[in-house]
């Protein structure tokens, strides 16, 4: 393996300056589970590696004053998957993180690194798309917030600018009546990169959306208010659906037509139709793990299973879900 300098910056500004000065021969390090393999394989030959893990907050999971969950960019997959707040409110993300590689690898691999590496097959990404995460970056011009669907720009490409690095992943609050399911297919039952993955999320009511489909940030919603608000209006009984697809396009993809169809009809026939719409939203390719045709077929299967699983978890009566008496 090509030798490199390993640098631990003292603060955000120094980290940014080091990354800014270095161009392509300088790489940020979080868990290193993607980076070091690429160095060892000779695909990249960085001269300097900047370890960002020790910067303040990078390894913390906290609830913000606004009620958002803030996951430091260097939190490991196991740390995120095991965190009580994640398990209680964002369990979809826990499912996704627990599906990544092996337990040992998840002790090193970070959710932030998974996103920055920007593999279309990043397993945490479909869950984060469903949860409408907002990525926070630090750079020469200060702090910048990027909606997750704008963060992934192509295979191995993210929206970070020179000198910028990811500091945290911000998750908007979720209604208490909500559930998610993450399903993936790999060639082995543990450790393989996904052939395809699908995250499905449903929550009661419909949040106010800004242009671009993103939740407003920050948004003041506390847990007690949310619980009290649930069930008060008929609108809150309606489900808002989100479906995100991994490893079947240049980036993770949402399936808006399938989501809209489910909101109207979540009967078994409606679920089957939505699954088909999700498959049509996929933009898969042939590669060594699977063909595009198989991937597209499996998006439909996993979407259907995910939706059924979410329906089962919500214990929703079909009349409510389907919006018909």
């Amino acid at each position: 393996m090509q030798p490199f300098d390993y640098i631990v910056p003292h603060n955000f500004a120094e980290a940014s300056a080091l990354l800014m000065a270095g161009n392509d021969d300088t790489r940020p390090l979080l868990g290193g589970t993607d980076l070091l393999i690429r160095v060892r394989g000779g695909f990249i030959r960085p001269e300097r590696i900047i370890d960002l893990k020790q910067l303040p907050g990078m390894c913390d999971i906290v609830r913000s004053a606004e009620g958002w969950l803030v996951i430091g960019a260097a939190c490991t997959m196991n740390q995120v998957a095991g965190h009580p707040l994640v398990r209680q409110e964002y369990e979809l993300l826990a499912q996704a993180c627990e599906s990544v590689a092996s337990y040992q690898l998840r002790n090193r691999a970070t959710v932030g690194g998974n996103c920055c590496n920007a593999s279309p097959a990043a397993d945490s990404a479909p869950a984060l798309y469903c949860l409408e995460a907002v990525m926070e970056a630090y750079g020469p011009s200060g702090v910048r917030r990027i909606p997750i669907h704008e963060f992934f720009t192509g295979p191995r490409c993210n929206a970070l600018r020179p000198g910028e690095f990811l500091t945290g992943i911000h998750l908007p609050p979720v209604p208490s009546r909500s559930a998610g399911a993450f399903n993936k297919l790999g060639r082995t039952k543990i450790g393989d990169i996904s052939i395809v993955s699908v995250a499905v999320w449903a929550e009661a009511g419909s949040r106010k959306l800004e242009a671009g489909g993103q939740s407003k940030h920050p948004e003041r919603v506390d847990g007690a208010t949310r619980t009290a608000a649930d069930g008060q209006s008929k609108d809150a009984e309606r489900l808002t659906w989100r479906i995100a697809i991994g490893a079947a396009g240049p980036t993770p993809l949402r399936a808006p037509e399938a989501e809209a169809a489910l909101a109207e009809d979540a009967s078994p026939e409606g679920v089957a139709r939505a699954a088909q719409l999700a498959a049509e939203a996929a933009r898969p390719i042939d590669d060594i793990r699977a063909s595009a045709a198989y991937r597209r077929g499996m998006v439909a299967v996993l979407a259907r299973r995910g939706v059924n699983s979410v329906l089962a978890r919500l214990g929703a009566a079909p009349s409510v879900v389907g919006g018909q008496p």
Binding site: G41, L185, R187, S291, G297, R305, N308, S309
Partner: protein, 767 residues
């Protein structure tokens, strides 16, 4: 007096060092003043080297020497025929040694102060290539006018066999049912934990010494001595701990190149050890693979189940060089008609040169391919006849009295019937009042649907609705069971006089305080050195703990033969037993120390004649297997829920090690059947790392894997033992495909059964 040492699961004598990390594998070895060697691989599947400029590499920082074909005295290698250059290059005494024939051909060696320097200098070597036409499909390579790959072989057919027994037309005329199929079996990578590595140096006696992981010390020594044009006494090969082999270390990887480096350096006055470690990517392109084969076959049977005829045509992809293709093909030729008596048989088999990675030895050695075709044919016949697959097999199975396709009986003690009954019984087959076998009437493990759930792996909830959801997924699951049987030779065959050497030294005064066994056999992880200590202890009547092993060093002992062909326990076990008994006689004669050596010679075999008739082997092992699979009809995922493997091992000298071999062989075979998906494009290997070439993980193996040990003694094996390490591999792919057919009514004649292949099979119309 003393408790018997055989038939007991005594602890492995290599375990403490391996568990504590004291044991050194080749890559762990360091010696003072050591240099590092890196290898330039061709990276092209077929090209002539017209120019080779190593000046810049030779002048690079830290580089001590750059070696090319011009530095190899006798630039050829090959276990069976010497058709492979040690290094490919334009200046060489060997015709055709300027042509690379697969991506893993070796072109140059750089020796430097550090590994990084050696690898950096590789990039400075300038090679001028003239690309040649690619020959990738064996069927095309055999056609007239195909590009010739070797000067000695005009039609690219590296080797062929022919069997003619009885009258094929009469056989098919007597058949009530005829089934025909074309079966394709894939390449498989050995994927041993330890990539190729070693250290070479000049020892105190002036011998070129190579410490390396291989399977046959004395064959390695011979290959090195031949290439260096030295007497074998000038070369010494030592095996430290070996990180798996499975056949993949039978052919040369780093042995000759390391020896060449140490020797050429010494000639230049640089007496420093040289070490090399291949990367995983280099390992995967650099050593041979299991042969891909295409088998066309047609079988006939009477209404009562008796087989009447079998016609088989086998084409094996031999890859760039012979390696052991001739011997592998021999086994396919014998096993492609299964462990059955068939009166009328015609087999035509050939191995063909191509520009693919060479086909090589791999556990089962041609047997898995032959069995896949044969046992799939039996499953089809059972269906066509409306007969239980166990019943059909028992009506045709080989016994002591019946003749092989080679016109000769199997040497005595054929345990096939016992083995098939053991597997069937363990799997729940029963006999009705008329004595006919009937498949299990219920699914084996109704509960396994929940336990082995891999279909929604991230669900942790356990509420009622969740369970209902699980059932809805479970409704896409279809279960089926499959059965298959097999047999394979033990030891080298087809006229080769099998032999194995051991020496035993006894020390003490009134009683034997220490027995030292000198044996060259390779412990590749199978427990060979432990079992040989058990054999010595048993023969001497002393406790196992008093036996000391001195192993795997050509300077200290004779040739025990290869750790292959399921032969070491049988061959070396007899050698150790013979040496121990001779030493004991001298001990009783008051010799102190009492020393004796023994060369065990196996019963003779013969080459096959023009019609494939003769006595090819002196011993066999037997296996029968049953499995249950769950197929997800939506995704095509196949999960083996339960696997039973009954193996006639003659006598289990160490039952724990036998069980380990059965479990290991089955898991490796399930990887072959379900998952291991070797991919190439234009001769380039696409799956050259373990993230693209996947082998089973702990979650992919059956929840229940039940070995059943059957002991029908071999007349010539030590204490009745027969070889067993390959047999549990042989019929597994056929058993799995039969179970998938039982579940889905779709017959797969090509594997691995990846989810996508199964999904396509389930969704596309089948013939």
């Amino acid at each position: 007096m003393n408790q018997s040492s055989i038939g007991r699961s005594l602890p492995r004598n290599d375990a403490p060092a391996k568990v504590t990390g004291r044991a050194l594998y080749p890559g762990d070895i360091g010696r003072p003043g050591m240099l590092h060697m890196a290898t330039l691989f061709a990276g092209r599947p077929h090209a002539r080297i017209v120019g080779l400029d190593t000046a810049a590499a030779g002048a690079a920082a830290g580089v001590v020497a750059v070696l090319t074909a011009a530095d190899v005295p006798v630039n050829e290698y090959g276990l069976q025929i010497k058709d492979q250059p040690v290094l490919v290059g334009p200046v060489s005494g060997k015709a055709g040694a300027d042509v690379v024939r697969f991506v893993g051909d070796q072109v140059a060696l750089v020796i430097a102060e550090t590994e990084a320097q050696a690898r950096a200098a590789l990039r400075l070597i300038r090679v001028e290539w003239e690309d040649l036409p690619l020959v990738l499909a064996p069927e095309q390579a055999m056609q007239p006018g195909a590009t010739q790959l070797h000067p000695h072989c005009a039609d690219n057919i590296a080797y062929s066999y022919r069997i003619r027994k009885g009258d094929l037309n009469a056989g098919f005329g007597a058949a009530d049912v005829v089934v025909e199929g074309v079966y394709r079996t894939p390449v498989q990578e050995h994927a041993y934990l330890q990539p190729e590595a070693g250290v070479a140096y000049i020892d105190e006696a002036g011998r070129i010494t190579v410490e390396v992981a291989g399977q046959w010390t004395h064959a390695d020594r011979k290959a090195i001595a031949h290439a260096l044009d030295l007497p074998v006494e000038q070369v010494r090969v030592i095996y430290p701990a070996i990180g798996g082999a499975f056949g993949g270390r039978e052919d040369m990887s780093v042995q000759i190149t390391l020896a060449l480096a140490a020797w050429r350096l010494a000639q230049r006055g640089v007496r420093r050890p040289v070490k090399t470690v291949w990367s995983r990517e280099e390992s995967i392109i650099g050593h041979g693979k299991r042969h891909a084969m295409t088998i066309h076959t047609r079988w006939g049977a009477r209404r009562d189940g008796r087989l009447t005829a079998a016609e088989v045509r086998v084409v094996a992809d031999g890859g760039a060089y012979m390696y052991t293709s001739d011997k592998v093909l021999g086994n396919t030729t014998l096993t492609c008609t299964g462990p059955y008596e068939i009166p009328h048989v015609a087999v035509d088999a050939c191995a063909v040169y191509t520009n693919n990675v060479p086909g090589a030895a791999f556990r089962g050695f041609g047997g898995p391919q032959g069995h896949f075709a044969a046992e799939s044919q039996m499953d089809r016949l059972a269906e066509a006849l409306g007969m239980d697959p166990v019943e059909l097999r028992l009506r045709n199975v080989l016994t002591d009295e019946k003749l092989l396709t080679t016109g000769t009986p199997i040497p005595g003690g054929v345990g096939l019937t016992e083995t098939i009954i053991a597997a069937a019984t363990a799997a729940g087959w029963t006999q009705d009042v008329a004595g006919h076998w009937q498949r299990p009437q219920t699914e084996w493990n109704a509960d396994d649907a929940d336990q082995t759930d891999g279909y929604d792996q991230t669900d942790n909830h356990n509420n009622h609705d969740h369970q209902r959801h699980q059932r809805s997924i479970a409704s896409s699951i279809r279960r089926g069971i499959g059965f298959a049987a097999g047999f394979k030779n033990v030891g080298f065959s087809f006229g080769y006089q099998e032999n194995s050497y051991a020496r035993v030294e006894l020390r003490g005064e009134s009683e034997i305080e220490e027995a030292t066994v000198y044996i060259a056999g390779a412990d590749v992880g199978q427990g060979h050195h432990t079992v040989m200590a058990q054999a010595a202890a048993e023969a001497l009547g002393i406790p196992f703990e008093r036996v000391r092993m001195v192993t795997s060093d050509t300077a200290r002992m004779g040739d025990a033969g290869s750790a292959s062909a399921s032969r070491l326990t049988y061959m070396a076990g007899n050698a150790v037993r013979g040496a121990a008994e001779a030493a004991l006689a001298r001990w009783r004669n008051e010799d102190r120390p009492a020393t004796a050596e023994h060369v065990f010679l196996a019963p003779k075999t013969t080459r096959l004649d023009h019609d494939g008739q003769g006595l090819p082997n002196f011993a066999y092992g037997y296996v029968a297997q049953a499995c249950q699979v769950a197929v997800d009809m939506d995704t095509g995922e196949v999960h083996v829920e339960r696997f039973i493997s009954a193996d006639d091992v003659g006598k289990a000298l160490n039952p724990q090690q036998v069980t380990g071999q059965i479990e290991g062989a089955v898991v490796q075979a399930l990887g072959y059947a379900l998952m291991e998906d070797w991919r190439t494009r234009d001769g380039q290997v696409l799956t050259n790392r373990l993230s693209t070439y996947l082998i089973p993980t702990v979650l992919d193996i059956p929840a229940r894997l039940d070995p059943v040990i059957v002991e029908v003694p071999d007349p010539n094996g030590p204490w009745g033992a027969r070889g067993m390490a390959e047999m549990p591999y042989l019929p597994a792919a056929a058993a799995v495909c039969a179970a998938v057919y039982d579940a889905t009514r779709v017959r797969f004649t090509e594997f691995p059964l990846t989810s996508e292949r199964v999904w396509r099979g389930l969704h596309e119309p089948t013939g």
